[in-house]
Symmetry: C3
Subunit: 274 residues, 3 copies
């Protein structure tokens, strides 16, 4: 099933509109191409409605927010929603400033997101109004561990119930849930925290997987999360083999997504479904 989800992306080559930050935009475009989809990356409000209509899926990433890009997000989001396109929210650094928290709240009020993906600090902030993270990384105190796993799943399910979105929480253990079923995913490698944009790239992948698999939302998000984790593991192996660092590993990560087959995704997946 996971493999089929990836194969559908390659076969259907959905057009994914990314309104995203200028830090990781290039990697987001290349990973979108790597998985088989086709990226557009504009953030102009002048064309946001048209882009929301034309695309097969929309990814909204709050990495480098401006009033102008927020307008584009709202216009594209409403337009894409009107045409039934899947829409992903990546609330980057939602707890790092008042502006980010308030923007996330506005986006959540105005746009019916299909999936919301962030680290645990970001999801805690936007699900409960709490504001304590430092920068764009998750607070160490927030890390998802085996100990607080049940509590985190409960939080994510509750947030899914209130938003209607599939919730994906990234970390050492990844959680992907709707109100009924939960994937607990143990793919990935700590080196990924040393590569800028792993979260952003995953959100682009998520939009692509959803756009090619509109009837299997939870599975599509889970397959994207597993793809990223599995390719992170493979990239780490290649990095140690050739004695490279985080820049090399970033390239390998995108390369591994490019080469990944449906069968390899099935075989490499480490998850539990509840």
């Amino acid at each position: 099933m996971l493999g089929e989800i990836l194969e559908n992306v390659r076969e259907r080559t959905p057009l994914i509109q990314n309104i995203t930050n200028y830090v990781t935009a290039n990697d987001c475009a290349n990973i979108t191409l790597a998985c088989g989809a086709s990226p557009t990356m504009s953030d102009g409000e002048e064309e946001a409605e048209e882009m929301g209509r034309l695309c097969d899926g929309l990814n909204i990433n709050m990495g480098t927010l401006h009033p102008r890009s927020v307008k584009a997000m709202l216009l594209a989001g409403k337009s894409a929603a009107g045409f039934g396109r899947p829409i992903v929210l990546d609330p980057v650094g939602a707890g790092a400033s008042t502006y980010r928290r308030e923007t996330a709240e506005e986006l959540l009020r105005e746009i019916p997101f299909t999936a919301i993906r962030g680290n645990i600090s970001e999801i805690k902030t936007i699900s409960g109004g709490r504001n304590s993270s430092k920068g764009v990384d998750a607070d160490a105190a927030d890390a998802v561990t085996e100990e607080n796993l049940e509590k985190t799943i409960a939080l994510a399910r509750d947030f899914s119930g209130r938003t209607g979105a599939v919730i994906a929480i990234s970390g050492a253990v990844d959680i992907v849930t709707d109100t009924k079923n939960t994937y607990i995913i143990r793919n990935g490698h700590p080196v990924m925290a040393k590569i800028t944009g792993c979260g952003c790239m995953l959100s682009s992948l998520t939009a692509a997987y959803l756009a090619a698999n509109p009837d299997r939302k939870l599975e599509a998000v889970a397959a994207a999360v597993i793809t990223m984790g599995l390719c992170g593991e493979k990239a780490y192996e290649k990095m140690t083999e050739e004695n490279s660092g985080n820049a090399g590993c970033r390239n390998h990560l995108i390369d591994e997504v490019y080469k990944l087959t449906g069968r390899e995704l099935e075989r490499g997946a480490k998850y539990e479904l509840r």
Copy 2:
């Protein structure tokens, strides 16, 4: 002759001002350095006139359009034209939105471009006002094939006659033409469609080649197109050797431009001149 054109870039190190998008700006800067030129990348209207005057060549890329960057394009374009600098237009995704099509039309009215480079959908849109492409890639229905080659050359020649610019159409077969002569180029590899920014990088190269060879416009544009295609072939070989993907291939592509000699360019070129 092709080799000499590249060697002139290396010898004269022209300063190329790029008003471009935030997705591929880094790759455009690095490929400009790789071919021997020196890039500046600002898009502020506050300095656009000065930059247009100071540079040896200007590249205008519509990848992530804003009203602010459009103002910079117009100011820099008029300034560069007043000083006789070559100016390249890359009408990225011109057919993807009304805003893009109208901006392309405004730029074409106001700036005497030396060269216009795009895929066939982009060139069709801006040469005839048609608006049918999806996103930033060429429509499959538009692909330049051996069958429609003559018709496409006629379209490009006509557009060259109306604009005074050398027209370059990128695709499986590349066409570079003015009103009199046409290069039909068969370098390149399909993997290049999986690397974001290949078109953008080629437009930066084109501005560099033109700036260092102002008296051989058609040949300079053809040499840039051949350089990109040939280095794409070499990058693909390296990619398959080391079993990498599109991110690795992007790095190899820039690396191959960095290492390319005039002699290799001559030897590897696959074209027909009519």
Copy 3:
């Protein structure tokens, strides 16, 4: 001592706020992670004050200036200064336009910088109001050589006296000085001039090293400059071994920072302290 400075970055993982350009932002984020710090990259004026307060160090880079980002620079700079955070200025292309020179002057008037890092043309421009550089690279006529070394040191010391900042001048020979002591550094490789963003990346490193070593400002800046030069040498070796070009070398450079140990930094450093 140099080694300890790097180890402090890895141990203290300072949060570095970068208000920087869209060309090299990704490389700046990845090199910040590579040295052990944690980057944030926002340039929104709406959150600039909060970001200036939250961060452990601030890096202001003038690469792609806009009135909006200048406002963010001023707000974040004053806020960071009020909380005693170290602040780095990278006056990219300060001599390339009136707007850049005037912005540099305004930033220098309003913000008490801890360190100012640029090439010799940039430092000459902002220290004396001269405006003669072409683009963002140093004028050949300006190059720091063994012949004009003493004069350049005198200029940098004088500028340090007037600003209270550590001054770092990058070139074939690097100079790092306050009013009393001067590091003359001979690490580095000419290929670094062919990689876009080496200066930008160094400024991000400098902010990270300063944030983790607030009581040893001169040494922290010198250690950052030596790190960059030494990793450039190592990257060049790897580039020639695998026959790659400037894109490959850029990746190796970040990778080498990622792998560098305090001991290697000590052993590889080539400098004279006066």
